[in-house]
Amino acid sequence: MNFLAGTWVGEWLIGLGRLALLTREAVAACLTLKASRRDLLYQIYFIGIKSQAVVLVTGAFTGMVLTAQTYFQFHKVKMDTATLAVVGVSMCDELGPVLTALMVAGRVGAAIAAEIGTMRVTDQIDALRTLATHPIDYLVVPRLLASIIALPLLTMESIVLGITSGYLVGTQLLGIDPTYLYYDMMKYMNDVDVVFGLVKSFVYGGIIALIGCYKGLTCGMGAEGVGRATTEAVVYSSITILITNFFLTLLLQRLYVLIS
């Protein structure tokens, strides 16, 4: 491995190893319930409640534009009533979880990295350690638990709003028959689509919290270090979510085929 030292590949591999160690320690601390209830509730409020506006607007307008685009194509082959089925499956399987996660990564991932990074450069993390408090128990565990609880709930809201707004656009604006629109959506959608979306959002919640915490805990010194950590937290979380989405889709589909 020596030939990799100092190269960007080497740095990347070292970073990946450190992130894996942080993940292992954070998961172990989560399992032994090392977070205080007050900290956990505050993080759920910060990640879940405070992200409502951005997630709901994203979900609603994604459902609306997807409905319009699908209708314009399907109308050519007289399949207007199948429009909401496509919107439903897309929102549950892909767009709901991925867009929600990307929006939360931008808002929450950046905030986590900036807050922990500032604590690091002002010695507050060392102060925690001298006060016999493990930074992972105090800083990472509440954020990780809150993120994996809040993301599925936010995703569900986004999906429901996306489908509802799509339904309204389809029936009120585009003139599709409401009964057949609803009937076709129920016909072509499965419960498993919702489960896939929830599983994905759970994983993305973990990715956002862990990368945000990791970037904060390892940020460079000074304002520049905090700024870079914040940017990297958003960029790395977003890229990881998009790459993971592809593999998770394949994995979940295979598992579904195997089970059914």
Binding site: M119, T122, D123, Q124, D126, A127, R129, T130, L131, A132, T133, H134
Partner: protein, 243 residues
């Protein structure tokens, strides 16, 4: 009792400490002096296990802490209180929440007991009535006092001070020195103070350790150090720049 044996530490290619040996007995008040960038704070961080040495060992009450992981170190660190150079107060919390923090993490005290201890600690550092203020509303000297209150509220056996008077005016520095002496005498703690303030070193220490060229250069009483005719010691004590 704290013992450091052959401690060496580098950051990248820069060697900071090279085979440092020292011993601080329980109840002693030791002052570590030396030039800026000479490794004083690095040595202090090794004593509390915030840094791992490249070589050498640190013993706290006979326990070798250099081979402990972070979770094992938490137990050892509960013997310590540390006052940081920039106070390192948690800026999202009030003064009272900062001081109460170590007590709340111990889960051994009722809210009433915690409130009582917080008031007592703030009175000890001459800051009564500041409980509801945020760190951003405090002056540099007040922040250091709150940092000290947070470090002593759980009655540790050893208190470490990292440049407690740096950046403060002489009057506030004097009050911080008096506070260090008061804490030492009232709580009977072992004190280790890192400073390059010679007046402060003379007042608060009964044992002075001088770092020079990455090693312990002098290890004696303040009286002996200030009476020394050694050119390196004299240059530092008198504050004379290199030619």
């Amino acid at each position: 009792m704290i013992e450091v044996r052959q401690l060496s530490k580098s950051f990248g290619s820069q060697l900071i400490l090279d085979g440092v040996d020292l011993r601080i007995e329980s109840g002693e008040s030791a002052v570590i002096i030396g030039r800026s960038g000479g490794g004083k704070s690095v040595l202090l961080k090794h004593i509390i296990g915030l840094l791992q040495p490249d070589a050498g060992e640190v013993f706290v009450d006979g326990e070798n802490i250099t081979r402990m992981n972070e979770r094992q170190l938490l137990r050892v660190r509960s013997k310590f209180g540390m006052v940081f150079q920039g106070a390192a107060l948690f800026d999202s919390m009030t003064v009272a929440e900062n001081v109460a923090f170590p007590l709340e993490r111990k889960h051994q005290f009722t809210p009433g007991e915690i409130a009582k201890r917080v008031v007592a600690a703030l009175e000890m550092v001459d800051l009564p009535g500041t409980e509801k203020k945020k760190p951003a509303e405090l002056s540099g000297g007040m922040r250091k006092r709150v940092g000290l209150a947070r470090a002593i509220v759980y009655e540790p056996q050893i208190v470490l001070y990292d440049e407690p008077t740096t950046g403060l005016d002489p009057i506030v520095s004097d009050s911080i020195d008096k506070l260090i002496i008061r804490v030492r005498d009232h709580l009977k703690v072992t004190s280790i103070v890192v400073t390059h303030d010679m007046r402060s070193a003379q007042r608060v220490g009964n044992h002075v350790i001088m770092l020079h060229e990455k090693k312990v250069y002098a290890n004696c009483t303040p009286e002996k150090l200030f009476a020394s005719t050694d050119p390196v010691v004299r240059q530092f004590v008198d504050g004379v720049a290199d030619k």
